[in-house]
């Protein structure tokens, strides 16, 4: 019974909110359950578990189903399908072998929220101080930053309309979702 409850909480972190709560054309969709892994390794080598580790800091590679964002010189955030939650850390550990590293499953800690629409950057800029212009924050950029009072990881995915992924801690997710909803109302 408890397990079923936990699974529901993971799959629907914020319940079933309307995709466009503000009616502004900015879609705010909480992502379902996903596997998230935090990887720290000082001497990474070119790749692990098929994920590149040699890309520049503050970029994301891969597709929507399996991605890796480099957040710092020795830190990566990896997201993948929920089904991979057990296999991914083991595959990473096998490829990194003897190199000192830390792999932490943070699937329960992180909640993803997808924000898309032509004016999505305006809504995000209500609480995020970064320059989200096309030149400063093109598709493929990913960084840790702030949204209002919460720390987030902001990822920009490629696509015909601007599509951002906001990753925040689970206990911050109601605040972050509410903040984005309010921001979309005034931005739209």
């Amino acid at each position: 019974m408890l397990e079923a409850l936990y699974r529901t909480a993971r799959a629907l972190p914020l319940g079933r909110p309307a995709a466009d709560p503000a009616g502004s054309g900015i879609l705010i969709r909480p992502a379902g359950a996903e596997a998230h892994v935090s990887l720290r390794v000082r001497d990474p080598g070119p790749s692990a578990a098929g994920l590149p580790l040699d890309r520049p800091i503050n970029t994301v590679s891969g597709d929507a189903r399996r991605w890796i964002a480099r957040l710092g010189p020795d830190e990566w955030l990896i997201g993948s399908d929920e089904a991979e939650a057990d296999a991914l850390p083991a595959a990473l550990a096998a490829d990194l072998g003897e190199r000192p590293h830390a792999i932490v499953d943070i699937s329960h800690r992180n909640v993803g929220i997808d924000v898309s629409g032509a004016r999505a950057a305006v809504a995000l800029n209500a609480g995020c101080p970064l320059d989200l212009g096309e030149a400063a924050f093109p598709a493929g950029t990913a960084t840790r930053t702030l949204l209002g009072k919460a720390e987030i990881v902001l990822i920009r995915r490629p696509g015909p309309v601007p599509l951002y992924r906001v990753e925040c801690w689970r206990s911050f997710s109601t605040y972050v979702h509410g903040f984005l909803t309010e921001a979309a109302r005034s931005a739209g």
């Binding site: 800091i57 503050n58 957040l71 710092g72 010189p73 830190e75 101080p129 970064l130 960084t143 840790r144 930053t145 702030l146 720390e151």
Partner: protein, 96 residues
């Protein structure tokens, strides 16, 4: 908004950073040999210059790395940022 140049991430807004106080303070090699006054001096006494100051900064809400910066305490202007362990290229008396 004040921008600070993180050595890893480039120009980023000030709110993402934490200041860690004066930089280039070496821990005494043999603390047991120091008098109480000398040890207290190392622990608690810091420069508070009116002008250029070398400080430690952390990109806490970004890459999470510590680095050093030269900041003018009068104008709040950052002269340069450089990796932890390195020396600044501007010649300045950090104890001034």
């Amino acid at each position: 908004m004040l921008l600070i140049a993180c050595p890893h991430c480039g120009n980023r807004p000030e709110t993402e950073f934490r200041c860690g106080g004066q930089a280039h303070i070496a821990r005494p090699a043999d603390p047991a040999a120091l008098s109480d006054e000398q040890w207290a001096e190392h622990l608690f006494v810091r420069a508070n210059p009116r002008g250029v100051h070398a400080e430690r900064w952390c990109h806490a809400h970004g890459c999470g790395r510590w680095f050093n910066a030269l900041r003018d305490t009068v104008s709040d202007r950052f002269l340069e940022t450089y990796p932890a362990g390195a020396q600044p290229s501007h010649s300045t008396d950090v104890r001034a």
